[in-house]
């Protein structure tokens, strides 16, 4: 993951968050991605969201696999530890990281190749464990870093740069997540920071695995006419199913309700997610309804975006395993080692 040191230039008037940090404190090294790459917009949204929720930089763990998308962790929050692992293997490594230290906000960044091909099994099982983490798929329908092969998210009929159509049905991470019990499922568009930032903020508060699939056009290999993952196509076909406000614990609800209904979901940490403009017959807390809606609209070629499904009732991996609230790494060794006397007693059984 190439990275270049970014010229430091702090603007004195920059706003400060609850930790008295400016957004600069949430930035990373300079991106080496292609100019215009969707992934860089996601970086910007992440930077913004983390600054807004004011997570201390060192309490963030950033992990990724391999791919252009997987370079993202280098480009935000330099003050956080980052780990750029092997292709497709981020979910287990993040699971281990979370297992050891649940106090960190664990952010995994992946690509559609990384997550839906080589890492598919791992992602599904991280979902199943409801590992508390934010899992962003920077979805461009191709393998960017290896120069433009179709990924498993390519739609039927979408054309490669060479003009060849993809023939296989896509694996849609949203439908997939619904089918295997994901508890937080969103789709967004890298071009739409206003939508993405509140989703990311909600994800930080979510009790478990937050799956966020972001359509993130690859300007170099998949932004041409005939591609269904181009900026143009996505803009033209986007259908915002919900709009989301994230309301931190003990804040007043200021959000305006859209034409359609609204749904509020209280998060485990006391914050609230407020769905505005929920269409009739849609309920982001009802899996069946969400599936219906998606089946109907996606079938028509629409790109349905928003925080689509949310379930705060499922315990996360740590809760299921009844671990302490603090990081396992904080438990002193004396508590972990039963000591010599216990060993002596135990060995009376081995006779």
């Amino acid at each position: 993951m190439p990275s270049i040191v970014k010229p430091v230039a702090t603007h004195p008037s920059l706003q400060r968050n609850a930790l008295d940090l400016t957004i600069r404190d949430y930035e990373g090294t300079m991106s080496t991605l292609c100019a215009g790459c969707g992934h860089d917009s996601i970086t910007a949204a992440l930077t913004r969201a983390l600054w807004e929720v004011a997570t201390p930089p060192h309490m963030i763990a950033k992990l990724s696999g391999i791919g252009c998308s997987s370079k993202t962790p280098a480009y935000f929050v330099t003050g956080a530890h980052g780990l750029n692992s092997a292709h497709g293997r981020m979910p287990p490594i993040a699971t281990g990281a979370n297992a050891a230290n649940r106090e960190l906000v664990c952010i995994g960044i992946s690509g559609d190749g990384d997550s839906l091909s080589i890492g598919l099994g791992h992602m599904c099982h991280a979902i199943r464990r409801n590992v508390r983490m934010i899992y962003v798929i920077e979805n461009n329908g191709v393998y960017g870093l290896t120069k433009g092969q179709f990924s498993a998210s390519a739609d039927v009929g979408s054309k490669s740069k060479r003009g060849e159509p993809n023939r296989m049905a896509p694996i849609d991470s949203v439908m997939l997540g619904l089918s295997i019990g994901a508890t937080f499922i969103a789709r967004s568009f890298s071009g739409d920071k206003d939508q993405l930032v509140p989703i990311l903020k909600a994800a930080v508060s979510h009790r478990g695995f937050a799956l966020i699939d972001v359509i993130s056009p690859c300007v170099t290999f998949n932004d041409h006419e005939g591609s269904t993952k181009s900026y143009l196509y996505t803009r033209r076909h986007e259908l915002k199913a919900t709009e989301t406000d994230f309301v931190p614990p003990a804040s007043e609800i200021l959000a305006q309700i859209g034409q359609n209904g609204a749904v509020n979901v209280t998060m485990h940490d006391g914050s609230m997610v407020r769905f505005k403009g929920v269409p009739p017959n849609y309920d982001p807390t009802d899996r069946g309804k969400v599936m219906d809606y998606l089946e109907e609209h996606q079938g028509q070629g629409e790109v349905v975006t928003g925080l689509l499904y949310l379930d705060e009732s499922v315990p996360d991996m740590h809760e299921m395993n009844k671990t302490p609230d603090i990081a396992l790494t904080k438990i002193p060794y004396q508590k972990l080692c039963p000591g010599r006397a216990a060993l002596d007693r135990l060995q009376d059984d081995f006779r």
């Binding site: 190439p2 980052g82 050891a100 230290n101 960190l104 080692c337």
Partner: protein, 626 residues
């Protein structure tokens, strides 16, 4: 006794014989066999039990071998004084394995095929099925109780201490009255029948002695799990695979016992059943990156799958402990058979230039002892460490010295910067400032923003920055090589026993230990004198090289086809490979002294007759392979 013919009077032998029990798996024989073994152990007699079981849940042949030896030679014997033939499927081959003049115990509820008789073997028939049918109702119980019934017969025939056996049954079925009664009844059925029909005890039999002191009976997987608990491991990730599964099962049991916070009821550990081994090692790496002591346990196929991430951990310098309980490979191979076939795979796991640290425990006691060593080395050297056990060590019960624990032990967490140290830094640079072992300090997430760095498996320079510059890349790789070499001084030193006038050396590892020692003793008695070295870790300590250099001939005894230990010694010491001769046994059953003696004598071109083995008996005529 129907069909029994006496061909040879056996001399009385006390506490020196071997028996083999042939059963069908899934019929409950394991507990009867274990009972016998445990009773002998409690009688203070050196004993070993080897379970030779199939990769199947129910219905296939399974054997159990018990060797009793007052001198402490408890490696597997290939000369069976007594065969308990409870499996009609394998009867024909079982009878062939009894040594001349030996005994065969069989179920005489049905007549024996006269074809299967042997002149030179004593046949002891007991109508086990009939006895159990007469005494038990339930059909499952009838099957199960046959096992305890033959155990009863053996108690009589071998003079097992009945009091000890009764105590064992009591302990086992404490609070389960009905079960306890049935077992006791079945035991008596076999016992009484033997008393009534045979001259008990047999010429070879048991007598209490005091050779076991405060030793314990434990399998390697249990011991290794206990070692992990004592080492302070908090995160375990695994995918079920024979023969390593019971290690994680044991870890769970111990954690439930020792790691539940008495006040809060919370678990001071987490065990994650991963979706596969790629994931399991990933979880270990993620946890270790955060500073937890984390491990996985697996077998060959799992190691193969972990290759890529092992290279990642090596290169990114993240600790990881991998327990490899080896089985017979390649591929699925024989999952319930033992081998030492993963040495090369583990030593050099992953593409590109990689070298890993390996530890070779030889028995459950060392499994326990080496577990904390593995974590210490993984953290000190910031790299994967393999604990190389195998099915024989891991799943068989071994009599070993009582496990020791020093309450003064403090985990060696290696060079991890504390918050204070970080605060004093002007800038943290991940791979600089290496110590004399070439290890640079690391930092953990969640401590301080100044300590943050980017961990990557892609090319990086000593500052942790991305690089594609040859000199920067090489600099890091060169340090890694030196770091690996530095670990040689920290792995457990080899065990060496020298004898005056030795004309050769023997090098071995792991569970070969007892067979090799026995073989060396027997050879020495006959004037063929060799020195002994058991390596316990890789990279090799300089003592390993010196030992090899001392001898013109070093036999390398190991359980694989391709002489993998010899290969490692060839590549990773300065000793000339001509000095290294292989004795290889890789059929899947534990090593016996006979394998070693035959191999050594053949290579030396020496013929010794009778060569073998226990208490002045003639060499067995049984073919060596079973």
């Amino acid at each position: 006794m129907p069909g029994a013919r006496w061909c040879q009077v056996m001399r009385d032998r006390v506490n020196d014989f071997a028996l083999k029990l042939a059963n069908v798996n899934g019929t409950g024989s394991a507990s009867a066999n274990g009972l016998l073994m445990q009773a002998i152990f409690r009688m203070g007699i050196p004993v070993s039990g080897k379970n030779l079981f199939p990769s199947n849940i129910q219905g296939l042949p399974t054997w159990y071998e018990i060797r009793v030896n007052k001198n402490g030679y408890t490696a597997r014997s290939l000369d069976y004084d007594l065969m308990v033939a409870m499996n009609s499927q394998t009867y024909a081959r079982d009878i062939r394995e009894v040594r001349e003049g030996g005994y065969l115990l069989y179920d005489s509820s049905w007549p024996l095929d006269p074809e299967l008789l042997r002149d030179d073997v004593h046949f002891l028939g007991v109508p086990f099925a009939q006895l159990c049918n007469d005494n038990f109702r339930d059909s499952r119980e009838r099957i199960l109780m046959k096992n305890i019934a033959y155990a009863g017969t053996l108690v009589a025939a071998l003079q097992v201490d009945m009091e000890i056996v009764s105590t064992l049954l009591e302990e086992k079925y404490a609070g389960k009255k009905k079960l306890s009664e049935s077992n006791t009844r079945a035991l008596r059925l076999g016992y009484d029948y033997a008393r009534d029909h045979f001259d008990c005890p047999l010429p070879f039999h048991l007598e209490k002695m005091d050779a076991n002191g405060d030793k314990i009976l434990i399998d390697g997987n249990t011991a290794i799990a206990l070692g992990c608990v004592y080492a302070g491991a908090t995160v375990a990730a695994w995918y079920p695979i024979t023969p390593s599964t019971s290690a994680m099962d044991a870890f769970k049991v111990f954690c439930e016992k020792y790691r539940k916070d008495p006040e809060t009821g919370q678990n001071n550990y987490i065990i994650i059943q991963a979706e596969d081994e790629l994931s399991a090692i990933g979880m270990v790496i993620g946890a270790a990156w955060n500073g937890a002591r984390a491990f996985t346990s697996t077998a060959g196929p799992g190691i193969s799958l972990m290759n890529e991430l092992l290279g990642f951990a090596y290169y990114a310098e993240i600790p990881a402990v991998i327990i490899d309980v080896e089985r017979v490979g390649p591929s699925t191979g024989m999952p319930t058979r033992t081998q030492q076939g993963d040495l090369l795979e583990c030593a050099y796991a992953s593409h590109g230039d990689t070298k890993h640290i390996l530890l070779f425990p030889s028995n459950p006691a060392e499994c326990f002892e080496f577990a904390p060593v593995a974590f210490d080395l993984a953290e000190r050297f910031q790299t994967p460490v393999f604990l190389m056990s195998d099915l024989d060590i891991g799943m068989n019960d071994w009599v070993v010295p009582r496990l020791q624990w020093d309450d003064g032990y403090q985990p060696d967490r290696g060079r991890v910067l504390s918050l204070e140290e970080i605060q004093q830094l002007s800038k943290f640079q991940r791979y600089t400032g290496e110590d004399e072992n070439q290890v640079a300090a690391r930092t953990l997430p969640g401590v301080h923003p100044k300590a943050s760095y980017f961990t990557r498996g892609s090319g990086h320079n000593k500052y942790g920055g991305y690089t594609e510059t040859p000199s920067e890349y090489q600099e890091v790789m060169d340090r890694l090589l030196k770091k690996h070499q530095a670990a040689a001084k920290f792995v457990p030193a080899p065990i060496i026993h020298r004898r005056p006038d030795a004309i050769f050396g023997i090098v071995t590892l792991g569970g070969c230990d007892p067979a090799v020692r026995e073989a060396l003793d027997l050879l020495a008695e006959r004037g063929v004198v060799g020195d002994f070295m058991r390596v316990r870790g890789f990279p090799f300590d300089s003592a390993v090289e010196s030992f090899l250099a001392e001898h013109d001939i070093n036999f390398v005894i190991e359980q694989n086809r391709d002489a993998q230990l010899r290969s490692l010694l060839t590549l990773e010491t300065n000793v000339s490979k001509d000095k290294l001769r292989s004795v290889l046994v890789y059929g899947g059953f534990p090593l016996s002294a006979r394998h070693v003696i035959d191999g050594v004598l053949e290579e030396l071109g020496i013929e010794l007759k009778p060569v073998f083995v226990a208490a002045g008996r003639p060499a067995g005529e049984v073919p060596m392979e079973e």
